[in-house]
């Protein structure tokens, strides 16, 4: 760019009066209609996508910027804006031991839910990709949990995973396993919440995988079976590599969703404050945002926490991108 500018001599050209006739190969005065047409051709696509970006500006960028503005002020929920405090809110949040704890919880719940979820969804999609009797019924029924509201799911699972009188513990007790403190033990609570998330999202992801699998050319499988590859080998060596772009999509969406998990852990909580257990065993970052903003009524710290979460998600997105590039280059000539 910088080397091209002086050659074109843009500055000089703009200052001098228009010399239309100078340009070779073009009509001296392009007809008015034709110019209109060119503008239309160049500008229209941008106009067509403009509504989305305008909306995004209003409901996406504005809140983001406003949250940043709030986060550098003393800002109480009811009292409104106070003094400018710079990065003091960020420091307070980072110094708060709950921030680290709830960040670890968030990542832990995300990993415990997403990894099995994607693996199971993949296997489920592989099974549904077969010539089954009543295919549509099977395929639709895996989506059924997705239709149920997460709040209802949380209430039902909360009761199933009751520490003392829950069904899960009663079943475990019947086979001689001691009660598990689902609401108190940190890891157990993460597993319980992850099971809620997985119950809801596995079928949904399986259907997305299934759609991608059906676009894989069937002759690849035929030649593979002629070469003597079994079903499992075909799945691992043909299906999975062929649907990699879809896997990337699913992994990114579940990362974003997983890091923002809120309703499930909040409603799973039995204590009155619903901060994620008495010792925040399963409190997540979004719950900390809620705690700061609406229970401690301090929007300054809540906004700072929200921004920190945003940065964490960005970090994860970058790590994802690098990993995916790495995987892509391992895949050879794709």
């Amino acid at each position: 760019m910088s080397t091209q500018l002086p050659i074109r001599g843009g500055d000089i050209e703009e200052m001098s009066p228009p010399r239309r006739g100078d340009r070779p190969g073009r009509p001296a005065t392009p007809p008015w209609r034709q110019r209109l047409h060119r503008i239309d051709y160049r500008l229209s696509p941008y106009l067509y996508i403009a509504p989305f970006f305008l909306l995004f500006l209003v409901i996406g960028m504005f809140p983001l910027g406003y949250t940043a503005w709030v986060s550098v002020h003393d800002w109480s929920l009811l009292g409104g804006k106070g003094d400018f405090v710079g990065l003091a809110n960020y420091r307070e949040v980072l110094d708060n031991p709950y921030f680290t704890k709830q960040l670890v919880n968030t990542i832990s719940i995300f990993l415990i839910s997403s990894i099995p979820q994607i693996l199971i969804a993949l296997a489920l999609a592989g099974l549904l990709d077969n010539q089954l009797r009543g295919r549509t019924v099977w395929r639709m029924s895996v989506l059924l949990p997705f239709v149920v509201s997460p709040v209802a799911v949380a209430i039902i699972f909360g009761s199933l995973f009751g520490d003392r009188y829950g069904l899960v513990n009663q079943v475990l007790g019947a086979v001689g396993i001691d009660n598990i403190a689902w609401h108190t033990n940190r890891l157990a609570s993460h597993v319980a919440i992850a099971s809620m998330v997985n119950w809801r999202w596995t079928g949904y992801n399986a259907l997305i995988f299934l759609a991608a699998m059906q676009a894989v050319p069937r002759d690849l499988y035929e030649s593979a079976s002629i070469d003597g590859a079994g079903r499992v080998r075909q799945f691992v060596s043909i299906t999975v590599p062929m649907i990699r772009p879809t896997m990337i999509f699913v992994i990114i969406t579940s990362t974003i969703g997983g890091l923002q998990i809120f309703a499930e852990p909040r409603l799973f909580d039995e204590t009155t404050t619903r901060n994620g257990g008495s010792d925040r065993q399963f409190g997540t970052i979004t719950m900390l945002v809620y705690d700061f903003g609406w229970q401690l009524r301090d929007l300054g710290r809540a906004s700072a926490t929200a921004w920190l979460l945003f940065l964490v998600i960005c970090l994860f997105a970058v790590v994802n991108l690098i990993l995916i590039r790495r995987i892509g280059s391992l895949g050879g000539d794709r």
Binding site: L77, R164, N275, G277, D298
Partner: protein
């Protein structure tokens, strides 16, 4: 190419779309407009737990054509509180009348501007003096009309007492619980005989009951936060020290497991302010044997008792005020007492034969009128509660719960409580 027909179709489509959007927006905006075309005004009344208002509201609606009452019920005060502050900040969305838990009244009065001044000379002397004072801000404006007070007794399961070899008669039971030491010692006897049943329902609940006997639990009289005081530390030590004795159910109050243990013989006694009787009855369907003893360890205590307020953001403040005044009138609160045991905060209602002679069949025909009145008379301490009381109490109960459920030892949990209070700012 665009033909005239397609253009017309497009025009129609976009018009339809615009219409749909406009009507959706109108529907959203119109949701809380309560004045219907026939001239009646609907006043929504938001309550939590059990207020015993169902029968009263039917009574009002049957006799009033211009104003109708609609009740909005929420499970617990903590959920109601989160809703309240969110919508106060938003400036809209609250019910016309909002019930406030007594401990949170100081925090509400710090936001007096957001509420209608309900001062009414005609209502002077309706309430107990301390109750009226708790609903009045420093400018002398009455922000909340008192509903009930919560004189604490001890509710107990006579059937479980019998199985443990303890006396079951409510007067004899009362003799076993004069002091906290007696109460816990009786508990030791009980859990020795019945190891699968705890002595009380929840450490958090017990701690709150005990705090109501402390003059300055969290704050000094000038509302300075002071949580490192010997009285609070003593309550904390006592409650957390009982965990290893097997007295506590080790379950957090108001949760699913807490509700379930009413059906599972989970515990034998609980601190029982009047309004708690309605909750016990609601959770104990099919369970026989509940009774109430005319005693509270270490003297009397008041737990909770609520107020009705009228948020200024409502569209019908005058009608809402009228409804709140009617619901908190002595006659009505006497009926609420019969329905759910919420003991009236109105002088006249406390003296009325309807209250004094009330018996509760679910609690083995206990004369709850005289028992609750005795419990109210036994109250000697009104704890100082400043604007931060409710928030600190929440942190304190979390601290107790951490020890109860085994996630922290008492010292570490106490340190965390101090940090939580610090973070309140």
């Amino acid at each position: 190419m665009q033909t005239r027909k397609t253009r017309r179709v497009r025009l129609a489509t976009s018009a339809l779309l615009a219409l749909t959007l406009a009507s959706t927006a109108a529907a959203c905006g119109g949701g809380d407009d309560d004045a219907s075309s026939d001239g009646t005004t609907t006043i929504s009344v938001a309550t939590f737990n059990e207020f015993g208002y169902e029968g009263l509201i039917d009574e009002w609606n049957a006799s009033h054509d211009d104003i109708k009452i609609k009740q909005v019920k929420v499970g617990t005060w903590d959920d109601a509180k989160a809703n309240l502050f969110t919508k106060l900040a938003a400036g809209s969305g609250l019910s016309d009348v909002e019930a406030i838990e007594g401990d949170a009244m100081p925090a509400i009065m710090a936001e007096s501007d957001a509420f209608v001044d309900l001062t009414d000379p005609e209502l002077d002397g309706r309430w107990l003096d301390w109750k009226a004072a708790a609903g009045t801000n420093s400018d002398g404006q009455m922000i909340g009309y008192g509903t009930d007070v919560g004189p604490e007794g001890i509710c107990y399961r006579a059937d479980l007492f019998k199985r443990a070899g303890l006396p079951t008669d409510r007067d004899e039971v009362a003799k076993l619980m004069g002091t906290w030491d007696d109460y816990f010692a009786t508990g030791d006897t009980f859990v020795k005989a019945m190891p699968d049943t705890a002595w009380y329902d929840s450490s958090g609940g017990l701690a709150q009951a005990m705090l109501n006997q402390v003059a300055n639990p969290f704050e000094t009289d000038d509302a300075t936060v002071d949580v490192e005081n010997p009285e609070l530390e003593a309550v904390y030590k006592t409650v957390t020290g009982n965990v290893d004795r097997g007295l506590s159910s080790r379950i957090a109050q108001w949760g699913d497991d807490w509700t379930a243990q009413f059906q599972n013989d989970g515990f034998a006694t609980m601190a029982c302010p009047g309004w708690m009787m309605g909750i016990i009855e609601g959770n104990s369907e099919g369970v026989d044997g509940w009774d109430i003893a005319n005693v509270f360890p270490g003297g009397g205590g008041n737990w909770g008792g609520s107020f009705l307020t009228v948020p200024a953001q409502g569209k019908h403040p005058d009608e809402a005020k009228e409804v709140a005044a009617w619901l908190t009138a002595p006659e009505q609160q006497a009926k609420a007492f019969k329905a759910v045991g919420a003991f009236p905060s109105q002088v006249e209602a406390q003296d009325s034969p309807e209250v004094a002679e009330a018996v509760n069949p679910f609690f083995n025909d206990a004369p709850i009128g005289t028992i609750t009145a005795d419990r109210a008379a036994a109250i000697t301490v009104q704890p100082f509660k400043g604007p931060k009381y409710s928030d600190i109490l929440t942190a304190f109960q979390a601290a107790v719960t951490r020890v109860d459920d085994g996630s922290k030892d008492p010292d570490a949990s106490w340190e965390q409580f101090l940090a939580d209070v610090e973070a309140l700012g």
